[in-house]
Symmetry: C4
Subunit: 288 residues, 4 copies
């Protein structure tokens, strides 16, 4: 655990890329965020035919510039982390890779059929935007509340699915193919559409019995929507209560990430990584 | 209450089929779950015309294999339980029977008209999937919260129904048959569709007065959706609170089922069935 | 306050009609409930053309029988109550009158044009069903929770209305008449349909800007649906808390009604009417 | 801080216009509220073609009368406030100006093209209605609960947006242009429509894979609607709790506004403006 007193360029770069506590780190994050949003907007614009025909060249150049920036950023992330493999195979490492590679792949693999498949990969770049949640402290609380009630919500959603299968099957038998209930899977799909109160209306019952069953399904959906709400409400109140007891750092709001293993979510007053023991603030260490 | 010291094959089979505490019991439940899901998927696929025409033979064979497995399982359940009648006339006993019998019935009763009715019975097999909830501990909590607020939810749903009847009648008088409000029942159906915020759009008001009343109904529906949610939320918080006080076994999470009467929901530390007094763990009993 | 020791027939009839504590009273309420439901179903069936043509005579006779029963019941209610005027001009008194009179009116006033207006009055008979809530104890709790949060819900609904007017006006300017936004009122109607997540789809934006604004409205609606729910949830929890403190009779579950003024909602242990001082149980009174 | 002992006409007018504690002030507010509502209704009626053609002259006159009243009111507000600039550039000052000016502008700027743009400005007058919330005490509590959970709701809505972008992109790739998914932005719009359970049905998936993904999106939307509800519910309960502790003036229910700087939300027992120190009740001041 010997801290390097002199800040190396790799250490400085790590500070900039992985943390948002310094002015340079903040600037980097804001620029990155802007570029991710821009790349998402570009992919969107490209999908609109009128826009693609008119600005094809401009969109193409812009995407290459962003891809090159993302490539540099990806390499920099690998260089500055002490254990690159931990980063590469982490959730964000894989997303970073998948959001950089598609444009390069589209150059090697030529052919109209293949290009379409590559495009699908390119669209995965939108996942990059998920990074934003890293920087927003409040999201941790939400994620915690959701995680705590995960099991309950899953059981609940499973119950919804069973009801949909049973009711969907009955609707298929009652309505028949005249009103759009052409098969049980389509009927189950309609049932989910109805139970969740979405109600597209592309498929709708026309027989009195079908409308009666549909009314029952709706009222049921209206009644059971209360269940997950009640669960999350209770769990969130609990989380809020715990936070009041344990203080503000119960949920982690800093952007600190270990230089060695890259693991986040350190306490605000942490000096060493809780995973690998790496010194988090080498130059501030009073013992050295 | 003389426990049989030597484990008989019936005792072993009971352990496997009715409980999920042993490795064999767990395997059995997983395989059963998989087969139930498969049978549901098969019924679904059969309802899609294109698939049924192409793979009719394969689907037929698969259904027979699953039906035979279900038959063996059903017989095994009856043999291993000490009081078979209690099982046969229990909720799951009836579902097990109804999900096994339709294919056999379709052999005896021939005729295009009758076959359709038998098909309806066959589709009841989807109820089998309900068994899954047996194995998920969390579901008990949900069921408890729902049961506790059952009376309130029923009153609430009844209020929704009354509002729908009154508003539906008014809409029928205002809109007339031009915009789809052909009779009061259809009008009430539309009202439920609107009040539950489903909104198919197959029937929609076109007169200014009708649209005004529809807007009132929607805002009302939007406002009263809060009521069941508030109820379940409060009840669930109470259940959660009780659980913290009474400990984890307040809600039953084990899969223990009595060998004698088949009643579930024993406490984790129970030695004897709370219904018939049968010894739950005969070979572990220190008194013997 | 001199109690009549000998039970008169008027006293006995009052017991049967207004209270549900005696076997005869219970029977009367169940029969009445059944007849109200039947009359609602009859009005519904009459509105379906096919049914009306086929069973016109039967429906007509049935309605006359029910109307005569309702007439007798209405007269009996007036006779048995000590202060008939208080009953006649009470909420239920007016509903009872309005649900009895239409059929008699349809005999006096003849003419196709007038008959239609009379029909509208006849349909008010569905209000009779509202009586049911009198007999269900749980409904009082719900009504209390709703009353306590009435002011907040009204302010909230008013906010929804303002948002709808502003957003509706903007949508009218953006979308124009091509996609169904023919006037501001229709546009506001669409906005309420969208904000309450009903979404009929008879009117839907087609311009990119209109779809963008629609998306904003939906997300807003999705976000603010939480407000009334939170309010009712908090209020209901408070009501539930109070009930635990004050005991079960905090919310009134008995069906007692004063013989003199007809006011309900007496405490379970009440001996005298809290409004007029009339003795509630004259023959049980130990002082006499 | 020298209070003017003698009530000047400006002081009296200030009392009437800015406060609702005196009978005259209440009357003024009610009349103003009525006129604002009337002007909103007039703008609405004008947008209906049939009405505009028939009553064009009447609507025109009515709007001029209201505009003149609003102009007088606007000037009176500027005169009676000690620091007019603070009022003019405040939120309500700008809304007051924007809801008065359009009719005058439509006289100077002539031309069919320009008139349409001016109309857009005129419609901003509906913002005037927002004033109503000033006078309703309950609204402050709601606004407070919403403000407290603003950060959480924003993070949540952001999460909804990310899910919509990802799912929308996938739906565009799966469904193609046949079923209305013509571009990624339209696809994202559809996804928001579905996730918020609005479900117009103008765009709906037709491929099995698209319907499966749509079902997933709906169930997800059904599950996550619980999150903001839970948040607001918990926050509101907290606000309710605080209010019980701090007393009724924790949320501000009086209509007092400073004569000097116009800032509202003074405590009920406040003697001096909490912003500029101006005496709030000069003639009641015991020190003078």
């Amino acid at each position: 655990m010997k801290p390097s007193n002199k800040k190396s360029w790799r250490y400085k770069l790590h500070e900039i890329i992985y943390e948002a506590d310094t002015p340079m780190g903040k600037l980097f994050d804001v620029v990155l965020l802007f570029l991710i949003l821009l790349s998402v907007v570009l992919v969107m614009l490209e999908s609109i035919k009128g826009v693609d025909v008119k600005y094809h060249y401009f969109l193409n150049i812009s995407e290459w510039i962003i891809t090159i920036f993302f490539t540099i950023e990806y390499i920099a992330r690998i260089i500055t982390v002490k254990k690159p493999r931990a980063y590469i195979f982490s959730f964000y490492g894989i997303i970073d890779f998948l959001s950089t590679i598609p444009l390069y792949l589209s150059m090697i693999l030529v052919g109209s059929h293949y290009l379409l498949a590559v495009r699908a990969l390119r669209l995965l770049r939108v996942f990059r935007i998920l990074k934003i949640t890293r920087y927003v402290g409040e999201s941790n609380k939400l994620v915690k509340a959701l995680k705590d009630s995960r099991a309950k919500i899953l059981v609940f959603l499973f119950a919804v699915l069973i009801i949909s299968i049973i009711a969907g099957t009955l609707m298929y038998l009652i309505e028949g193919e005249a009103s759009g209930f052409v098969s049980i899977p389509v009927s189950v799909y309609w049932c989910i559409v109805t139970l969740t109160t979405v109600g597209f209306g592309d498929i709708a019952p026309i027989t009195p019995l079908g409308q009666f069953l549909a009314a029952l399904i709706m009222i049921m959906g209206y009644g059971i929507i209360a269940v997950p709400t009640g669960i999350v409400s209770a769990e969130y109140t609990k989380t809020l209560g715990k936070q009041d007891v344990l203080g503000k750092d119960y949920v982690h709001v800093n952007t600190q990430a270990c230089r060695n293993c890259g693991s986040p979510k350190h306490r605000d007053d942490a000096n060493f990584c809780h995973k690998c023991g790496e010194d988090l603030h080498p130059d501030e260490n009073p013992l050295v």
